[in-house]
Amino acid sequence: MGKPGFILSPAPGQRKAMIDVAQELDRRGFPHVLCPHEYAGAATAVAPYDSLSMCTAVIQATKRMKVASGVAVTYSRPPHDMAAAAAFNHEISDGRFSLGLGVGYDGILRRFGIESEPPLPHMRRYVAAMQASAPDEVLPPVILAALRPGMMRLAGEIADGMVGGCWALSYVREALAAIPEAKRERFIVANIVQVYPCEDRSEGLAFMRRLLGAFMKMPSYPQYFIAAGFADEVERAGAALEIDDREALWASISDRMAEEMGIFGNASTMRGKVEEWQAAGVNWLTLSTIFADKDRAGTILRVADVFD
């Protein structure tokens, strides 16, 4: 089993601690970290970091591991500016950096006065503009955030990889089918999986139900869940949301859905699940410890202990 990577997501006051975590993961041979884009908004009026900036810091603090934005939101910067920052990270990292790009979420973008375009033409135009703006630069591999087959096919066509946020295990085949034969050997297939270490399976199931229940409220996820074979769950969740019934929302998430989208249980179960994901074709399996509200850095290292 290859070791998994991790999502790094520091809260203010923990920013240096998270860089220390990256250094330790690097020393211990973990292969990669992804730095997400943290939105500024109602809950966090100030963005606690920016995806590419955090990548810069992690690159400077580490020696071997791959570092990627996971993902940078296209609407947060003009394409030429994104290309420049990406080329900068690529150069100072000796090629350890990959640029993960996503179109973000309409609801959040609107908060900032941004009217988003349809995702597929927007991403095609953005990547082309980025490449055109940097004719003399060496740009890093580009990875597109992809939930549904359309974006997966676009990633196969114009990018060097794709990253899922909460793909179902059985859904990986959709991603693999979108990769052209000529690109398969070097194509990055990343997925961010929520991980919850616990001895009691029901505790892990309850966590996943709360998490996926929250995803049901996000505009792009229900459509993806349907595409991934969870239409019944989406229908039940929709009914629960209509009557604002939180318990019913959580109950709408089936055991099968929780098992397919999360990694939870004891150390042995977690290692087995990581192997399953890798065997399915995910070559950048990335664990998220989003459940750790306070000690995010410590939680990552405790999960990492499972894989030493």
Binding site: P12, G13, R15, K16, I19, E38, A40, G41, A45, V46, A47, P48, Y49, D50, L52, S53, M54, T56, A57, I59, Q60, A61, S76, R77, P78, H80, D81, A83, A84, A85, A87, F88, N89, E91, I92, F112, S133, A134, P135, D136, E137
Partner: protein, 324 residues
């Protein structure tokens, strides 16, 4: 004389060398590094109509990187030196994101960061379809949004890129300092009168001056003239230089641009103007000029070597030798 700082550019192919140069400056006790937002390269000539309006060049192409990324990389590689953006263009980021990243850099660099922001140059912004607002209103709104969003959080000092007195006055009202690129020495006392007296003690006054060290004064003067020519082509600089008493030079530059005469454009920069803005000559002359800027109120004097033909990292370290 306090040692000067330096302006850094993340030139493609030299980015790691620049970080190593920063480490060396840090070891040698230089106090500041400001990182530029490397906007773009000139690849198109303007239309005749644009030229008549004083627009010399159209900008498009690869940015070298944002000043924030470069500052962060240098901050991570150094221990004592103060780092800042000199400057980051406001239009490239939402204010909540700008201050969030500023806070991030400040935290991971143990409070060594200064967030320099400015509205950029219209000639460049137009190429990227940014909706441009009037500079004073834009900077007031943008800064208020940053301050409101970050209320209660540790935040780096915020300084404004300035040229003319109104922006200095606005910075005096709502910012923690100012940063010029090419401040006119003789005009500094007038400009700095805009800063409220009660703020002056702790107010950051930074200046990025073109610097060229040489025993050959003719060579040095020719080099800084070329550096200043680039700024003379920008309308906001033309207005500043007029305010500072260089109307004749601006008129000559506009005529040279209209005639597409590069030699006349370089000649438009008078020796008096070059002396009043740039730092050049022998090491002793360079040190003396820096002292003059510091005496005029610049408390973070920084040198720019971008116009040097040699490798940037080497150029910076060679100029730094004049101060050890």
């Amino acid at each position: 004389m306090t040692k000067p700082g330096f302006l850094f550019y993340a030139v493609p192919g030299q980015r790691k060398a620049m970080i190593e140069a920063a480490q060396e400056l840090d070891r040698r006790g230089f106090p500041y590094i400001y990182c530029n937002h490397g906007s773009a390269r000139v690849i198109q000539e303007p239309s005749a109509e644009e030229k008549a309006k004083g627009v010399a060049q159209t900008y498009l192409g690869t940015a070298w990187t944002d000043g924030l990324s470069h500052s962060l990389a240098i901050g991570m590689a150094t221990k004592q030196i103060t780092i800042g953006t000199g400057i980051e263009v406001t239009y490239t980021r939402h204010p909540h994101e700008m201050i969030g990243i500023g806070n991030y850099i400040n935290e991971v660099c143990d409070g060594r960061f200064i967030l320099g922001i400015g509205p950029g140059h219209n000639e460049i912004l137009r190429q990227f379809d940014f909706p441009i607002e009037k500079p004073l209103g834009h900077m007031r709104r943008y800064t208020e949004e940053m301050r409101t969003a970050a209320a209660g959080q540790p935040t780096p000092p915020i300084i404004f890129s300035v040229l003319r007195q109104k922006m200095v006055g606005l910075a005096g009202e709502i910012a923690d300092g100012v940063i010029w690129a090419n401040a006119v020495l003789s005009h500094l006392p007038t400009s700095l009168k805009q800063v409220p007296a009660e703020k002056r003690d702790r107010f950051i006054v930074a200046n990025l001056a073109p610097a060229y060290v040489s025993e050959d004064r003719g060579e040095a003067l020719a080099a800084v003239r070329i550096a200043l020519t680039n700024y003379l082509s920008l309308t906001n600089y033309q207005r500043y230089f007029i305010e500072a008493g260089y109307e004749e030079e601006v008129e000559r530059a506009r005529a040279a641009m209209a005639a597409d005469d590069q030699a006349a454009l370089a000649a438009a920069v008078s020796e008096r103007m070059a002396e009043d803005i740039a730092v050049f000559g022998t090491p002793a002359q360079v040190r003396e000029k820096i002292e003059a800027f510091q005496a005029a109120g610049v408390n973070q004097m920084c040198l720019s070597t971008l116009f040097h033909s040699e490798n940037q990292a080497k150029a910076i370290l060679r100029v730094a030798d004049a101060f050890d």
